[in-house]
């Protein structure tokens, strides 16, 4: 429990950590989505390519947009970009820094999806089985052109009758999977090398500017959060005062309209002090009715002037 609490507090304490956490969750979600997706290639000449490439590229776009939507910093950056300059200058370096850090985090889940897709191989087999050269595979070499397209399109569907035990089908499938995995690993290698270089070479260029940009982007984020919290606190205090004044004004109204004794010992009992002079069913009903029909104005300064 302690460990969990520490991890939770760590993630909450730093906005960047929260973003990294969300990024990781989205990446895991993309893997889970892929494994639970029931991939069924249509095995028809006109549809294979569209389906295969669609499954490979449309979910990454969706994941990228989700990564942007779920990232709080993207809103902060947009607000900073669009705000009028006013009394505070705008620093384009800060905005650029925020933009690049948001983009980097949003790209993780789509890249994970594309990697998983390529390493699994089903998408590429589905998309490109119709583009294979039939002469290279014994089973398809001596077939007429229209038929060969049909047969090649059926390669991804292992259980269909004509393809069930065909060695040529297995050959095409293996070949495409091999290409797909090679492509996947190559892209992964290139990306990791690029990330490595970017991280290690960055301190060699503009380190001071980078430190400034990072500091001020954190500052803008924290300032935004504290402003929202202060507004919440303020509205709570405002509401508290407003309600107290409402009860007091009801009490005074009741005193004016009823001719009961002036009460000297009114504040003597602690319990009665809380009653604010409202001690009757009718008075309570009147208070509730007034609260609905005539809410008090949003102005708590009146009480000070009374």
């Amino acid at each position: 429990m302690d460990r969990f609490r520490m991890i939770f507090q760590y993630f909450q304490s730093n906005s960047e950590s929260v973003m990294n956490g969300i990024c990781g969750l989205l990446a895991l979600a993309s893997v889970k989505m892929y494994t639970s997706l029931d991939f069924s290639c249509p095995c028809l000449p006109q549809y294979n390519m569209a389906y295969g490439l669609g499954i490979m590229f449309v979910p990454p776009i969706i994941l990228f947009l989700c990564g942007l939507i779920l990232n709080r910093q993207s809103l902060v950056m947009l607000e900073e970009w669009r705000r009028p300059a006013g009394c505070r200058k705008k620093d384009p370096a800060v905005i650029r820094y925020m933009c690049s850090s948001i983009m980097q985090r949003a790209m993780v889940a789509p890249v994970v999806w594309i990697m998983v897709t390529l390493l699994d191989g089903k998408c590429l087999i589905c998309a490109f089985s119709g583009s294979m050269d039939p002469q290279k595979f014994v089973g398809f070499a001596n077939v007429s052109t229209e038929q060969v397209q049909q047969l090649l399109a059926k390669v991804p569907c292992k259980d269909d009758e004509p393809m069930r035990n065909s060695t040529s089908r297995k050959a095409v499938s293996r070949y495409l999977r091999c290409c797909s995995q090679a492509l996947g690993w190559s892209i992964l290698l290139i990306l990791i090398v690029a990330a490595f270089l970017a991280r290690w070479l960055r301190p060699c260029f503009n380190q001071a500017t980078l430190l400034q940009a990072r500091h001020w982007s954190n500052y803008i984020d924290i300032e935004q959060k504290i402003f929202e919290e202060t507004c919440c606190e303020h509205s709570r205090l405002f509401a508290h005062k407003c309600i107290l004044h409402f009860f007091e004004s009801m009490q005074q109204e009741i005193k004016l309209h009823s001719f009961s004794l002036p009460r000297d010992g009114e504040e003597a009992e602690g319990g009665e002090g809380l009653l604010q002079g409202i001690t009757d069913q009718d008075q309570v009903n009147k208070l509730l009715r007034t609260w609905y029909y005539e809410k008090p104005p949003l102005d708590v300064s009146q009480a000070h002037q009374r």
């Binding site: 028809l44 549809y47 389906y51 449309v58 309600i243 809380l274 604010q276 008090p296």
Partner: protein, 338 residues
């Protein structure tokens, strides 16, 4: 337990986080509901379309309404919308903000249901199996069938066990085709929704940030004010009840002493704090009578002010018509002892 408490506290601390939490729970619930649901296509020409489209469209509608019902703020919105103007103006922008934010949250579970349904493919397969293009997918040498017979055969596509049209069109081919169309629709739908959400979220700071900040502040204010008012009323009710019950017991004890008239009152010197709390009721018979009286004749919702300690204060007593006057006389008489 600690873990849940912490998560619960995190969500409760911020009203918006709480609503997002409910939203997420409903989305998970809709996924769970779909996987637990036992989909049974009727495999009959007239019923397939209705069943398939019904499963696709009716639960999202229910989930949307449920999203509103579970949202506490709906009553707040309705109250703010319908209240008389009184001394406080109404701001249409605040109402619009509250309505939009509630609608957005309520939309999430239906969108999740629709996406999961389309990506799974069973509903579309069931609904549109009679419309598969036989010319491109069917076997060339199929027997000529009448339209009705053809519809009946095609309607059985989702039910593999009873499908008898293998020579007309292979079952796997048709199902794969329909599922492919369904998944394409599903992904396009998800892409469209995500793009819309992205546009709504990112265009707002570009156009109406100041108005947005104002609406958000005042909608939070209305929510907090309502909660604080409820809390204050609850506090008041507690004090009211306390004083009412205290006065009831005092009334009872003075009643009984007046009736018995023989026991001298125990002097204050003898009374510790515990004895004071007994409120003068010190034996079984008295207590039973107090309980019976509480059940049969609850006191009116009218607290009389505390009697002044030196006697003559009841001159202005005409204000309390419903309160039985007998105990008052006794009270006055006994207080005059001291």
């Amino acid at each position: 337990m600690d873990k849940f408490r912490m998560i619960f506290q995190f969500f409760q601390s911020n009203q918006e986080s709480f609503m997002n939490g409910i939203c997420g729970i409903m989305a998970l619930a809709s996924t769970q509901m779909y996987s637990a649901f036992d989909f049974n296509c009727p495999c009959l020409p007239q019923y397939n379309l209705a069943y398939g489209l019904g499963i696709l469209l009716v639960p999202p509608f229910i989930l949307f309404l449920l999203g509103f019902v579970l949202n506490n703020n709906i009553s707040m919105l309705a109250e703010e919308w319908r209240r008389p103007r009184g001394r406080r103006g109404k701001d249409a922008a605040v109402l619009r903000y509250m309505c939009c934010s509630m609608a957005q949250r309520a939309m999430i579970a239906p969108v999740v249901w629709l996406s999961v349904t389309l990506l799974d493919g069973k509903c579309i397969t069931c609904a549109f199996c009679t419309s598969v293009p036989l010319e491109s997918l069917g076997n060339a040498s199929h027997p000529r069938l009448s339209q009705g017979e053809l519809q009946r055969v095609l309607a059985r596509i989702p039910c593999k066990e009873i499908y008898n049209g293998q020579q007309l069109i292979a079952n796997e081919v048709a199902i794969r085709y329909l599922r492919c169309i369904s998944q394409a629709l599903g992904w396009c739908f998800v892409l469209l929704m995500t793009t819309l959400a992205f546009l709504v979220r990112s265009l707002r700071p570009c156009f109406s940030q100041a108005a947005f900040l104002k609406s958000r502040y005042w909608s939070h204010y209305i929510d907090i004010e309502r909660k604080l008012f409820d809390e204050t009323c609850a506090e008041h009710a507690r004090s009211f009840a306390k004083v009412c019950i205290q006065q009831f017991f005092e009334g009872m004890s003075t009643d009984l002493e007046a009736a018995r008239c023989h026991l001298p009152r125990k002097g204050p010197a003898d009374a510790g704090e515990a004895a004071e709390k007994l409120l003068g009721i010190t034996d079984q018979g008295t207590m039973n009578m107090a309980l019976k009286s509480w059940h049969r004749c609850k006191p009116p919702l009218h607290l009389h002010p505390p009697a002044p300690p030196t006697g003559n204060g009841w001159a202005g007593e005409g204000k309390c018509p419903t309160h039985p006057s007998a105990p008052r006389k006794e009270t006055a008489a006994y207080y005059s002892w001291v």
